[in-house]
Subunit: 446 residues, 3 copies
Amino acid sequence: MADKPVVRRRVVKTGISEERTNSSKVQSQYQPYKDAAWGFINHWYPALFSNELPEDHVEGIQICGIPIVLRRVDGKIYALKDQCVHRGVRLSEKPTCFNKETISCWYHGFTFDLDSGVLSTIVANPEDKLIGTTGITTYPVREVAGMIFVFVREDDFPDTDVPPLSDDLPFRFPENSERFPHPLWPAAPSILDENAVALGMHRTGFGNWRIACENGFDNAHILVHKDNTIVHALDWVLPLGILPTSDDCITTVEDDKGPKGLMQWLFTEKWAPVLENDKLGLKVEGLKGRYYRTSVVLPGVLMVENWPEEHVVQYEWYVPITDDTHEYWEVLVRVCPTEEDRKKYQYRFDRVYKSLCLHGFNDCDLYAREAMQNFYADGTGWDDEQLVATDVSPITWRKLASRWNRGIAKPGRGVAGALKTTSLRFKDTADGMRPGYKVPKVPDEA
Amino acid sequence: MADKPVVRRRVVKTGISEERTNSSKVQSQYQPYKDAAWGFINHWYPALFSNELPEDHVEGIQICGIPIVLRRVDGKIYALKDQCVHRGVRLSEKPTCFNKETISCWYHGFTFDLDSGVLSTIVANPEDKLIGTTGITTYPVREVAGMIFVFVREDDFPDTDVPPLSDDLPFRFPENSERFPHPLWPAAPSILDENAVALGMHRTGFGNWRIACENGFDNAHILVHKDNTIVHALDWVLPLGILPTSDDCITTVEDDKGPKGLMQWLFTEKWAPVLENDKLGLKVEGLKGRYYRTSVVLPGVLMVENWPEEHVVQYEWYVPITDDTHEYWEVLVRVCPTEEDRKKYQYRFDRVYKSLCLHGFNDCDLYAREAMQNFYADGTGWDDEQLVATDVSPITWRKLASRWNRGIAKPGRGVAGALKTTSLRFKDTADGMRPGYKVPKVPDEA
Amino acid sequence: MADKPVVRRRVVKTGISEERTNSSKVQSQYQPYKDAAWGFINHWYPALFSNELPEDHVEGIQICGIPIVLRRVDGKIYALKDQCVHRGVRLSEKPTCFNKETISCWYHGFTFDLDSGVLSTIVANPEDKLIGTTGITTYPVREVAGMIFVFVREDDFPDTDVPPLSDDLPFRFPENSERFPHPLWPAAPSILDENAVALGMHRTGFGNWRIACENGFDNAHILVHKDNTIVHALDWVLPLGILPTSDDCITTVEDDKGPKGLMQWLFTEKWAPVLENDKLGLKVEGLKGRYYRTSVVLPGVLMVENWPEEHVVQYEWYVPITDDTHEYWEVLVRVCPTEEDRKKYQYRFDRVYKSLCLHGFNDCDLYAREAMQNFYADGTGWDDEQLVATDVSPITWRKLASRWNRGIAKPGRGVAGALKTTSLRFKDTADGMRPGYKVPKVPDEA
């Protein structure tokens, strides 16, 4: 290599270029987002699928560094901080509920009212003066279309200020059909529609939630999908990438009421699909147009309209668990008015969508997100990334999220993941257990 | 949830209550205990069972962040710091003893006198000027009833100040029968009694030693045992919990000589067993009284008199290995004057005690201790725990331990566990090896 | 132990002796070496064996905290920084090369010129203003005797200053036969000789590169090999250790040109082999002299002349990956002028050298190095080690390396191993993957 004269086509500089779109001035406009390693708090997040919490069952999860326990009683779901006030133990590890109104800590019997969270009694110490003077935070719950949502809030966030679930869900149609016309596909359904059925899955992602979130609506990343089976099986025209052609290629939505987010004007003249690159010998071979549109709303919910087929919409969430794990949700929604519709949809989901889309197609995004983790984990990436024109998407998102989030979660304290190096973490890892989302329950006496 | 008016029975406050018994004033009385993450040094600790160290064998362990190597020669056991003065290597990894007086480092042949610890020669460098000018710390050893105890001390703690083993073992009977009468059960044996036989096991606990220690004599935690097999098989009356009824429910022992600790006046009017809770629909069904009494002495030794049966006593130790691992010992002691007695006792231990008590019953305590680890590991728990009346037990212990410990171990330096994130730690973990206590020996050339 | 009077042969002191050879004055002469946890940069290092990189293949590795990607095109190898300028992703994870002149990032199509490293285009964004204004560092490559070497440099180290590969390889013979006579064995071959064949292996070592490096030429460590199979099978006289007899037992080489290092005058009167220790009852039984000589040159390359047999030389490298992992190379070199010679050499390597030497003999060195890791990892060892006369070898090396290294690598930023506790690291560990050297490639869609 040292023998041959170096051929330079242009001026070669390694290091940070002044031509990157994320100048320090731009960066200063999204500093809150850079601070939000543990997530945005005081927002609605999906917690579990309905069928993960049968009647009378208890599950423990963690969101934004907060441990949360859920219990279903007579169909209704309660969510409370999964941390006994006594010695910090997780109630969910060994579910102990003596009646329908309370949940108890299995260790010393501290008992909490499901509705209010107050410490209402202690099993073998019912006169203790601590009773009634403290309690655990409760979290509002909504259950729709087979999904359980929890409003993850700061301890002192008042009930009266809790916004409707719809404020943290994607734009709905046809309400937004005028503002965001969709001549190439029918109105996308919403999880809030009557008879909406949400089918999907969630799994833990090994990286920060923001890195995962930005991948979904980034119009240059679709290159990772060029070899996916479904693309070729269904003969899709999937571009190599899509380029913004004007400054208004993205519209932000910042109404007084409703979700806050951005819409990308895909399949209009504001975005030009790139179907070939002569110099590199690349050319998209598909014949069938595959129209879709992406948008994202706080706290970081992706919507892909008309995906993977007409009358189906794909939602994604990247729910922060800690500062370096998140729960990745992929959900397909379709309105199914009849039982027959539900069966057909479940069948198509099981036979086509799950394997080819949720796994096949989206699995590429999993490793893509993981591939960025080392660069961003120690902060280097947030300073040294060099963004380009197509990154107008994440940049716009970061600024908007910085303006409209309802709170920046503090780092977890006294919870799993607060300290990365506990012996318990190493023990679980030695036993083959990856960092996770749900709390493993203690086994019965063998 | 947001639709229904919130029902409040009492004033709900989340966060720290002023009614907790661990006020800041109380906390200041046990600050030394809060500083003792790596343990109390200059105390006697169990190291191994006798049968874990046959004649001429060598084993390496770690206590209070100090690596220790043991060797048995002609029946006698020597304990020395398991760290070659040269380059810090553990002698125990590849036992190398050329004669009965010394132990050598397998790496460069540095040789230490077993008795004094002095560097007495180097295998291929016997004239080096370092010889005789340095050495490794020695630790007094006592072997009783099938257990090996080591006095784990600071490097400069003089031999002349080494207390008798009995100073760090639980109260003995009948010496203390007058001070602590036991009308409901016969005098509990001691490991120091003639013909005492100690049977049990030790395993690594994944959490700080203090969190483990406090569990054993905490009278409200017995709730975790309510479903244990042995309780129902033997039809025990095991309370839901036990409440203190007076300020002198615990007596501390702080004599000039002898062990320092506390005794709990269980099964007297000073502690009231709670056998039912109407509101929660709980009621203890057992018929057979099961009398026992707990006490704890420095450095953190639990005694359960009359457990699990008459004439048997249970001891527990929570020996600090690092600040987040400890070795948990469960030992049952019985005096067996004849060989026939020994056989019967060994048989009952193998057939009943080991599975139903040491595993079945005590396994609950294992997960209970682990369940507290995340809350305390980053310090949150030490500040934010909210203790109640029954916590007079750990609070008294913490204050007493703060007054009477013989030294607070410094954080380990240059030893396993000092740095939690070495590649060696990750390699072992990848290979399925949990954090442990004993040093794995290097394999022979395959 | 407390009963028996302590027998002291000499004054026993634990702790740091004033007689250690690494006094603070001596230590100050190698402070740069103490700072070089991540390695010496701007040096030639082995990257892969030639057969690990077939035509058109791509591999990712890491050296001195720098991720490096290699690609072979028409027989020629290119090495570039394995970190896309966009969002830090490793190009090697999913090799994507659209032509013979470039390598692309599989994520967003950023495309780099192999020769210059410049960002020459972006697959679906060929007009972006970032193009041509930045790029990734290139690294000179040399391929000899079946090994691929890379000059790992700082980003701004000029091409014109890149030294020849021979400057970072051991002393050659017969060029140095006058300066370093070898009456007892024939001139050792070099990897740079015509028809030189290098056979060997590389594997990841779990510890800092410096700790590994110092083991190889330390004349007192050979004690660990006393029980190795090959020693007894071939009836070697392998000393218990070798002692320096004069101050000039080591000669440093610090010529204007050429490698910088040290030569040890083994098998001259300057080093006395120790074959027995009466006091400890040790005596070497071998009959056949086994003559060899060790030397080491920057950046830390060991040469063992005449090992394991005449006309064969052993080289070792300890290539820093991070501050606590290194890639350990063991390579045997022989000049094989004919195809017949190659076959015979390969056969002897497969049948004898690989199992008895590279594994059997050298495996002892693996655990010896790991055994030091805890002592040095948190810095304790660098301060508290107590060196002796035989440590003139590592001490001389440390001083020389401090004088002649071409740069001290900065800690890795935004790369694997910069942060030890990422969830990705724990996930891989849970899956049984040890910390490594090569980048695992993303699997194809299943």
